[in-house]
Every structure is written in C-alpha cells, then in structure tokens.
Symmetry: C2
C-alpha cells in the first residue's frame, strides 16, 4: 500500500491557493520571510501575480498551521520566535513522540523498520554532503517515521502542524551556524532503540534526544 501512495500520488497543488501556500511556506522556511515580519496582501498579490482572494485564503491556512499570526485589521505576520515557544515546542514534541512510540511498538515489523533504516541512512548521507534544506527535510522525515507508522490520522495531523514549527526553528539554527550538528550518535541510538525491546528505554531516550535538540536550537537563537 505504501507503493500506491508513492506511485499514483495525484497532481499536487491543484488550486492556486495551495501553490501560494507552499510558496509562502517555503519563503518562511528559507528565511526570506523572517519571524515577526509583516506580510502585506497587496504587495504579495502583485509579486505573485494573483488576486487577493486565493492569497488571503492561503494566508489563513498558514495561520491555522501556526506559521503565521493575524490580528483583525492588522494583517499577517510571520510567527515570531521566542525561547518560551521553543521550550513549548520541544516539550510538546517529546510528549507526542512518546505517545507515537507507544502506539507503534506492537506494530513494528521488518518492513517498517527497514523504512526507518532507509530514512536513517538518508539523513546520515545528507548531513555530510547535502544542503541545508534537504538536511532539514531528512531530519523531519526521520522523525516522521514513527508518526506515519502509527497510521493514526489524528496524531499525524497534529504532528504535521508541529513539524512546520520545527522546520522554522531548525532553519534558524542552520542559517545562523551552518553547522549540521555532531548528533550522529544520538540519531544512531534513536534508530537502535527503535529496533530494540524496551519501550521504556526508547521513551527515556526521547527525553534526552529532545533536550539536546532544544539546547542546540536555543544556543543558536541567542
């Protein structure tokens, strides 16, 4: 069934709204639109050569995904970053990912563990000879494995929201430091524990794993 997903995935972004949403998200993630920056509708619509209707709908979707914020009659701004928000993000990630592992634990098999290993290898490869953006995507993809494997639609949708925030903070991290992190050990341990017998060990590793991620991004912020 995974094959079907990858093969007959229909044309993405059929609507203009979806294309615009993706473009703006990309610009936020690559730092062209910086946290706190105001997005003016008229300017955007003329830049993108579209009318304001689909643009506004796309912006509103990004608000609900946590990428932008809006206040009545004040327009849209890229969500500002803060240490508090970062802390909340990582504590939330930890809680959700622990839950995801508790769901996945009895569902593991050779097929989906192979898939985890594939993502692990891609992540390791891209850390040495990949660009920023692809490194981030591989990092996200690696952590997405557990969520996707749960086949828990609601959980996945909440992770999708979270992962965009993760992308924002990780892109700041990379933009500021250019370092792709010496976290190979942690990542390898993560994969090994996911293959192991102890759910408790996996979950307590998540505490450390996320704490290290938090520290790493935090140090890049200030």
């Amino acid at each position: 069934m995974n094959k079907h997903e990858n093969i007959l995935r229909p044309i993405e972004d059929r609507t203009l709204r979806a294309q615009v949403r993706r473009q703006i998200l990309d610009r936020v993630l690559d730092g062209q639109f910086k946290p706190g920056e105001k997005l003016v509708e008229t300017a955007l619509s003329s830049q993108l050569q579209i009318s304001r209707s689909p643009l506004r709908e796309a912006l509103r979707e990004l608000v609900d995904q946590g990428i932008l914020i809006s206040e009545p009659y004040k327009g849209f701004r890229v969500r500002p970053v803060s240490e508090t928000d970062l802390k909340e993000l990582y504590s939330m990630r930890t809680a959700l990912e622990k839950f995801a592992f508790s769901v996945v634990w009895p569902l593991r098999n050779t097929e989906n563990l192979d898939e985890l290993d594939n993502r692990y290898k891609r992540l390791m490869a891209v850390r040495t000879d990949g660009g920023q953006a692809s490194a981030i995507e591989c990092e996200i993809s690696f952590h997405s494995w557990v969520y996707e494997t749960t086949e828990h639609g609601l959980l996945i949708s909440h992770w999708e929201r979270l992962s965009n925030l993760v992308r924002i903070y990780m892109s700041m991290h990379h933009n500021l430091h250019g370092s792709r992190g010496p976290f190979a050990d942690m990542t390898t341990l993560y994969r090994d524990l996911a293959n192991g017998d102890s759910l408790d060990a996996m979950q307590s590793h998540l505490d450390e794993h996320m704490a290290q991620g938090f520290d790493s991004v935090l140090s890049a912020m200030k």
Copy 2:
C-alpha cells in the same frame, strides 16, 4: 489575572469572518449540519446575507480546525464521523491530558484547584437541570482546566482543535440518547485525584476515564 480575562474581554468576533465561523460551528454542534453533509457556498452566503469572500475564509478556518473537510472543486462537507476517528480522538485526548497533568502537577495551588472545583460544581449542577449544549460546554470546560492551568500555549492550541471534535461526538451522544450520563462518580474521582498526591494515580485514572467516555459515545453511535 483570570479576572481580567473575564472582565475586559474585548468585543469578540470583530470581523464578519469570525462571526460566520462561529455561526457555522454552532450549527454543526447543535446538529443542524450533520456529519457528511455538504455545505454549498452560494446557499450559505445568501442565507447569511454575506458575500462569498468572508464565507470562504471562515469555512477554510473550520477545515483547519478539523470541523469541516474540503476537496478541490468539490467544496466543503461536515467531517464525517467513524468509529476509527472516535478511537483516535480518545487515544489522543488521553495522551494529551496525561501530558497536561504532568506539566500541571507542580503548578497546582489553592487558587487553581478552587477553579477546578468551581467547574466541577457547575458541571454537576448543569447535569441535573441544564440543557444539552450547556452540559457539553461544562464538560469541556471541566476538562479544559488542566490545559489552561499549564499555561502551555502550544498545548492549549492543540487541545482547542481536539475539543471541537469532542463537542461534535458529544453532541451526537446527547442527541441520540438524551441521557446526560451517570458518570458522576468518574467526575468526582477525577477532581479528587487532581487534588491528590499521586500523579501516577491521576494518569492511570485518565486511561479509565477516557475509556469510559469512548465506550459511552461509541454505544451512542451504533
């Protein structure tokens, strides 16, 4: 500070979009719009006496809150219900509420525990002489206590999304049975454990509490 929230709460729904969003949400929750039902833009805009622009934005917001679903060129429909979705909803609730309690545990004090007790009393009162809608709101408000008390903005925003789904399923439950449930014991136990010393006891009670809620709603579905 809670006082301020209640007193100088600014004019809600300043924009037409927000008013429309609330109206449609209310109609979904009170069963006028049933799960799976299609919402036609032109019909809605003429009924509500508004143009399509703010209506479409409001509908999109409801999509992102999980109330509606939409497909390109096929329009909006009220999210259908299913046993799978219900199961996911309650497992997600359990995970989030356990997390919330772990955050809240060291933050408890006489003031916020009093607030929990107030909500408990209101819930008990409304169960005997309140209407359906207010019973649901008190139920949600009771469970919202732990989230609000965490002061964890990200967690709260995820709970807000979930709570709307809870409202939908609870309204089905009430609409079908009219029974307001003999769950006084569980609710009292919940409050007492929240006042108690053992986080473990609270969290394992959540498993039972949610399981009972799930069974109750499920039995109403079929």
